[in-house]
Amino acid sequence: MTGRLWAIAYNTYREAVRDRVLYNLILFALLIVGSSVIFGQISLQINRIVLINLGLTAISLFGIVIAIFIGIGLVSKEIEKKTLYTVLAARPVRRWEFITGKFLGLVMTLTVNALLMSVGFFAAVFYVSHRLGRGDLQLVTAVYFILLEFVMITALALLFSTFSTPVFSSIFAFAIFAIGTFGEDLRGIARMTSGVTHWAMTGAAYLVPNFAALNVISQVAHDTAVEPKLILLNTLYVLAYTAAVLTASVWIFERRNLK
């Protein structure tokens, strides 16, 4: 089982790399270098804040776009091109293994992409601040939260890919991401309502992924510490949410006729 999962995951990763997905790193490098040069002329402190905000936001957005655009095709493209026929028809591969393998492969791609960007980002921070101290560990936490974002959005894109066309899947995924960035506001609104509306709003607020809780970019840019408790809670939340979404994907895909 592990061998098959790894084989599918590695194939997904290899496909993304050979389709030149990592070329986005060049754009990222240009962005970081450009902003360091431009904002470096203002003041050291502002330059650092801008660089951290811009760098981490770019890592997040580049990854989200890749996660959605590749994620929505993970299953539907395989069905359309019939490449999965030779995997599922005549190999002892269960459908849940296929789904999980594809998910892990894209998460692996995004992780490598984010880590390479992070190396460039930390180099730029070092270049601007002339040092990297213990306080900069908060930046690592922010990158970790961005990776957690990728995990959730990949699972959601994959879910849509199991039953919808790429166009609708991308619309759904971007919409869910946009709503999820206001996750805390949704929960706040739910608390202000009562009766049936309260239950409906609370249900909707908890159904939508809470991307707001994973966004600590502004906080770390201003050197405000991230509580260890938040790291633990966010990790558990993402694991639980992703597991639920993947289970739904498998449930749908297991019942689908591959015509």
Binding site: N11, T83, T86
Partner: protein, 312 residues
């Protein structure tokens, strides 16, 4: 033990905006393919051949009936180690080379790491792709992709090989190579089940065939027996145009060239025809049984029916 046992297997699809209508892709099908056979599934486009294959391989789920492959039920995932499959118009991960693709499939099939390289190399050599083993598939022609498709179907040394239109889109040389390979695989003891609408290929290769149309089984059997069903005609050649009216009265189709008459008539009318020749004083030149082709059988089963529009 039968390689494939199908009992009343059927598939219908929901259609219409609300999914409240149903269209029959495959009517209840009962069929057995014995181990070691080359079995051909014939039919026009949309006949239900691909649906049958997809049902057997678990790509679509039956709405009725059961089937067993190598004695195991369809939902037994372990049986897939012993199955090879070539889909119609295969399309593979084109970012990979044939070497990488076959290694990937061999891994998924659970081929032991020590055996994998040897099996991949052997499969590529069998389809004549060793020289292109390290070229990305996106640079391949259709014929080359078909060869890679066959290689991936046999890389894990399966007992049963299912081929969906394996000769489709190939030039005559490619078709000949595929035919030779199918025969070789069969000589090694593998069971071959393939769908095709190219009847000459089926006639050359198959021990038995089944004819499908509109999702329904129209006939099944040993090729020679099936041909016998539609043959039973003889060609009588004689000298003496005066015999034509008598032969025509027996149901013969006559063509005369000068005084030489060629008459095609049912075998059961032969004695009466010979008597008619004697009576009209025509001279008998030859009597030859007419060899029917699979096409004759196919057309006799399909008749004027138009193929079904359901295609899965």
């Amino acid at each position: 033990m039968a390689a494939i046992e199908i009992q009343g297997l059927e598939k219908s699809y929901k259609t219409g905006f609300f999914g409240n209508k149903r269209k029959q892709g495959l009517k209840p099908l009962t069929l057995t393919v014995e181990e070691g056979e080359v079995f051909g599934c014939l039919g026009p486009n949309g006949a239900g051949k691909t649906t049958t294959l997809k049902l057997l391989l678990g790509l679509v789920f039956p709405t009725g009936g059961t089937a067993r492959i190598l004695g195991r039920p369809l939902d037994d995932i372990g049986v897939k180690r012993f199955i090879g499959f070539l889909p119609e118009q295969p399309y593979f991960y084109d970012h990979l080379t044939p070497l990488e693709l076959l290694d990937y499939y061999a891994r998924l099939s659970g081929v032991d790491a020590r055996e994998r390289k040897r099996k991949v190399d052997t499969a590529l050599a069998r389809v004549g792709m060793s020289d292109s083993a390290k070229t990305q598939l996106r640079k391949f022609s259709k014929g080359m992709l078909q060869r890679v498709g066959i290689a991936q179907a046999i890389v894990h040394d399966p007992k049963l090989v299912l081929l969906d239109e394996p000769m489709s889109g190939l030039d005559p040389i490619g078709r000949r190579e595929v035919r030779d390979l199918v025969q070789q695989l069969n000589e090694e003891g593998k069971t071959i089940f393939f769908s095709t609408h190219i009847l000459s290929d089926a006639e050359t290769l198959c021990d038995r065939v089944a004819v499908l149309n509109k999702g329904e089984l129209k006939g099944v059997g040993v090729v020679a027996d099936l041909l016998h069903e539609v043959s039973g005609e003889v060609e009588v050649v004689c000298s003496g145009a005066q015999a034509i009216p008598a032969l025509s009265a027996l149901g013969a189709v006559c063509h005369a060239t000068g005084n030489v008459v060629r008459a095609l008539l049912p075998e059961r009318s032969l004695e009466n025809a010979l008597a008619a020749l004697r009576k009209s004083q025509a001279r008998l030149i030859s009597v030859t049984p007419v060899q029917a082709t699979l096409e004759d059988y196919f057309l006799s089963r399909i008749g004027d029916e138009k193929p079904s529009e359901v295609k899965a």
